[in-house]
Amino acid sequence: MQSHVISTLVEDKPGVLQKVASLFTRRGYNIDSITVGSSEVENLARMVIVVNGNKQVLEQVTKQLNKLVDVVKVKDLEQETLVQRELCLVKVKVKNEISRSEIIQYANIYNAEIIDVCDDNITLEVTGNPKKLNSLLELLKNHGIIKIARTGPTAISRGKN
């Protein structure tokens, strides 16, 4: 089992996300994450889907996606040239001045932005590949995490492709 990142261009119409999602359910594939946003082409949106599975599953996923009339292009991004980024918002408890300064230090190290502060918590915004996010969250756990909101990774390939 390996995690694959599939980048698709789809028609920007109502119901397309449902079609893609229902395809995964119906064929028994698992979506790890899915992000949707506009693309460089007008009227087309880009969906980045992270899916777990062996080679055969991946082949079927891409072929079945290609069969959907609303799906214009499907590409399995190669692991070597892949850049993944995810955004995470996290609200952390602040018990005292020591914990506040420690959290701020972590934020600096991880290039996270402090977007909100109040007397008993701090909210950070951090972007990066999912592993970086996990590692920061791991550190923040000791302080007590109140809430996490993650976007799931989006991705693009480096270089000319």
Partner: protein, 562 residues
Amino acid sequence: MRGGEAIIKALKEQGVDTIFGYPGGQVIPFYDMLYGDDLRHILVRHEQCAAHAADGYARASGKVGVCLATSGPGATNLVTGIATAFMDSSPILAITGQVPTHLIGNDAFQEADIMGITMPITKHSYQVNDVDLIPSLIKNSFEISSSGRPGPVLIDVPKEIQEKELKKYSYSLIDTPGYKPTTKGNIKQIRKACDEIKKAKNPIILSGGGVIISNASEELKTLSNLIKAPVMTTLLGKGSVNENDEHCLGMVGMHGRKVANVSVNKSDCLIAIGCRFSDRTTGKIDEFAPNAQVIHIDIDPAEIGKNLEVDIPIVGDAKNVLKSLVEELKKDSSKFKSEEWFKNTKSLKNKYIPKTTYNHCPLKPQEVMKEISESLNPESIMTTDVGLNQMWAAHFHHAQKPRKFITSGGLGTMGFGFPSAIGAKVACPEDNVVAVTGDGGFLMVCQELATIKEYDIPIIIALLNNRKLGMVYQWQNLLYDERCCQTDLGQTPDFVKLGESFGINSLRVSNPGETKEAMNNALKDGESILLDIIVDENEFLPMIPPGSCITEYLGEYKLENE
């Protein structure tokens, strides 16, 4: 021009002569505009049968079949028919009414999310939000439905859209950049296939429904004769090759002919065309054609490697690919190595002729099917229901031409046989149409007797009556210790009286020789008739237990010559 009128006009411009439908609250505007129009509408007695009839129409004619129903329950009643068409790649267009746009999402009366419900069983679907798009949407639906790997398309039309005036009736282009079926085969792959075929000593062709859809029967015959390879078919491939041809081995699979099942496992090169290696065709997949190099030709790339690992995939339309394949093969004049194998399979076919002569009472279904089959000319269309009657037909009826054997293969929909026969007869009024059905399946759709009576659509209904849900009853007997739970249908109804109550000639057939006589009379007579043929409930079809190799028959495979 209003939305409903635009639908009618656009359908006609796509060549539609007949639609099958059932009115209801949210399609009253459409029916109002159909009033007095010359587009033929056949009022079925249940929406499911409208979808099956459209499907039968499509399979018999190769054109898109159209069915129409109201919102909510009307639309959901189409679902089984749409799923049936989807599984068998049949081009139908389903038009459904929908509650007015401003009520969508409010759980309005007779509202159902038919777009959501049918998403996994349609090739594509549209909900109309702009009345001016109607002509383009209809045109587009026909293109998508009938091209590439065909399939059902659904258009959901809210009530007020049907009544709205169009600014202009035009085919303003709707672009579908994501839809580009590959039709031409890759020449490199075709050459690879040629090399493999040249090497083969025991090549065999597996012909599926795709060959019929792409009208490739001629090309198939040329290939078979050129490379000296016998042809076997899937259930849906029946008729893609003349089954009376000495090199046609018949259907392969769980209920396949012995000669086909045995031969495929001896072959060293399997050329599979327009088929998807369903579990009913292959049995245990690891032991299917174990020694063969597999060449798989299909228009749907997703079918390649889905069930069976393939050595040489060729994506493209069967007709195109077969043409190029034959051309390439002819370039090299070296001889094929399969002459002897070709002769051997022919003699094996003669050795393994399944037994059909019984002269027994109650009637043996094998003999009944043989008599029905022999009474029909090559142009006659046979539709079947699902279950034992279907397998008797698949095994013992010889289809001689494409589009003359119509059956629900993938979904296995009981109740398909009779309504699909209605569609087939409407599409091909010149041809005799026989619906082979069982007592279980027929009772699911028997209300359509009213339809054939009202519209005078002559159909011969050959009802193989064993008072059982035969296929399940067979499995219970053979695989579940004879614990026959809920498969006895009792003695109700009296099918002869049932048919007569609808004004349909009905006749009970229970003695040897009577089937032939009844069929011949019915064909001469030209009117609809219901033949209630009483068959032996304990006559089982030879079968391969699920998950077993296709040469491991359960029970005796009775041969004619023994």
